[in-house]
């Protein structure tokens, strides 16, 4: 791992997977609004997908995140338009705190993907069939290792290596360790001032 200052490069993520199937899974499902009445992100992990995981009496329902075999998973494999809806960073924060380091999916909602990038979590994509095969493989190999090579844009599991897509900006930011942009942008103070000065309304 290299990277600028204290920001680690995320060129590689390895670990076991958890399949979360379904299109249009919105951030209200990932973290229901009632758990957002907090002023820190600490402790959000236990509420991830809460209403999918627990019934009214807090009994566990059928959900991959409740299954013993997926408890150590750190790669979430999802389908189309994952993370749509609200801009709440609480969603990726909750999943990160549950243990997720990276996502592989058919597609991601834009704000969700941006929030993930700001946390150093890759959101890599592949087509429906490829994703479905990977999800099935995880079901059969819950402990099986999945390797995401962010720079090479490949995912390897078992004997299979698949090509995935990583958005250019995301790839560069992760691989070069410049996904946390605060300090980088702050260093352009003079250019910021010049831009502001040229705007008629500022």
């Amino acid at each position: 791992m290299s990277g600028t200052e204290d920001i680690p490069a995320v060129d590689y993520v390895s670990g076991s997977g958890v399949p979360i199937r379904g299109n249009d899974i919105d951030t209200d499902q990932v973290i229901p609004a009632r758990f957002m009445k907090v002023v820190t992100f600490d402790g959000l992990g236990e509420f991830a997908f809460f209403d999918q995981r627990f019934d009214d009496e807090d009994n566990e329902k059928d959900h991959p995140m409740n299954e013993e075999r997926f408890q150590d998973a750190n790669v979430m494999v999802v389908n189309n338009n994952f993370g749509c809806g609200s801009s709440r960073e609480h969603a990726p924060q909750a999943l990160m705190r549950w243990g997720i380091d990276a996502f592989i999916g058919e597609s991601f909602a834009e704000i969700f993907a941006g929030n993930c990038l700001a946390l150093g979590m890759p959101t890599v994509t592949a087509d429906h069939e490829t994703i479905a095969e990977l999800q099935d493989w995880i079901d059969e190999h819950p402990d099986g290792e999945i390797d995401i090579d962010v720079e090479a844009e490949t995912v390897t599991y078992g004997d299979t290596t698949i090509d995935v897509e990583v958005d250019d900006g995301q790839r560069k930011a992760l691989v070069d360790g410049i996904w946390d942009t605060t300090a980088l942008m702050k260093s352009n103070e003079q250019a910021i001032q010049e831009t502001a000065d040229a705007l008629p309304y500022v």
Partner: protein, 473 residues
Amino acid sequence: MSRGTLYDKVWDHHKVTTLPNGQDQLFVGLHLIHEVTSPQAFGMLQERDMEVARPDLTHATVDHIVPTSDQSRPYGDDAAEEMMAELEENAREAGIQFSDPTTGDQGIVHVIGPEQGLTQPGKTIVCGDSHTSTHGAFGALAFGIGTSQIRDVLATQTIAMEKQDVRKIEVNGELGDGVEAKDVILEIIRRLGTEGGVGYVYEYAGEAIEDLDMEGRMSICNMSIEGGARAGYVNPDETTFEWLEQTDYFQENPEEFEELKPYWESIQSDDDAEYDDVVTIDAAELEPVVTWGTTPGQGVGVTEPIPAPEDLADDKQETARRAQEHMRVEPGDTMEGYDIDVAFLGSCTNARLPDLRRAARIVKGREVHEDVRAMVVPGSQRVQRAAEEEGLADVFREAGFDWRNAGCSMCLGMNEDQLEGDEACASSSNRNFVGRQGSKDGRTVLMNPRMVAAAAINGEVTDVRDVKEVTEV
């Protein structure tokens, strides 16, 4: 790539530099903050020993958790009180102006920005809320951001972004009677899909858009994100300028109005602008649209049959099946006649004064159905006062509506206004996700505000075109 559009021009005006990761660093003209997504960002700032760079370009309000009944402090809900107190402290320490309830200017962040004249054409506007796209109605470039990005904006007044494609959506012709802005955007999302706008910014154009008032344009831009587009905008025109001239900011600074107008005109999309995609819609074809499912794209004309899942695209079928089971609707039926338990007139989509006026004309002289609990939650304290002064509040109260204080309320169920059990709600809000309105078994039917009024009266989804309305309230 697009060329000569408002998006291109506003982007260029605000571009500071290109960052090593390939993203552009953009200057932010207005940063709106609220109590849910900002406290963690202030915390991160503190950890890094940084200060708020431009408190003068930052504005706060409280909306998501604010009670809409008893607003005396401390709030009855400890968590809500803690969030409010935290925002008060953060705003005070940084010197950020805060439209809190004591100012009379509090309200939903996407209602108060425009009404105070903070929202202006050609500005870049961000807020930790996906419905920030609303401000695009004024020809601003406005989008929702996450909390880490809020930290960036607080620290630098800039944001790292990648430029997107521009899709022009032309709504040509005139809307029929009883068809509103809300129906237009629900139709757009239904046609293009909830993920159809990913990677795009939407430019709304055409006669039907130009004919809308600013509030209607806000309703449309508001729900760009439901169609997957992070931002949507309408080119500013005389309607925009007239609206702006009446706002506080330009009433207090009339000379700035004249000074800024040439800039506003200069950022309009050129006649020969190039777009990455163009979609056209015939306004005359539209009827009031309601949702039958659990995503905003699952909509249908109120008199049309609910589609069978197997008739939808392959990747939509499973979601549709689950949605129909949750909503308890059958393919082939219409949504007209669907029983309603709750009517919610509110949210950043449809709780502005003209929305309430139109709904009141349906409600006047009638009574809320005995099986329905109905509430009006004005978008801001100003909307609330104006509606009370012109008698709208009385119309709603006399009909049996609960008239409440301003906030996000039942749109997302973060305060006490929530669905219970499997209640079905006729809602003027923007999301019908499972659990969105506070109960995981709750059923949300999205529709325009007049349709909500009609549903409240009849206890079922009603084609508002069949309801006689009074002409004066």
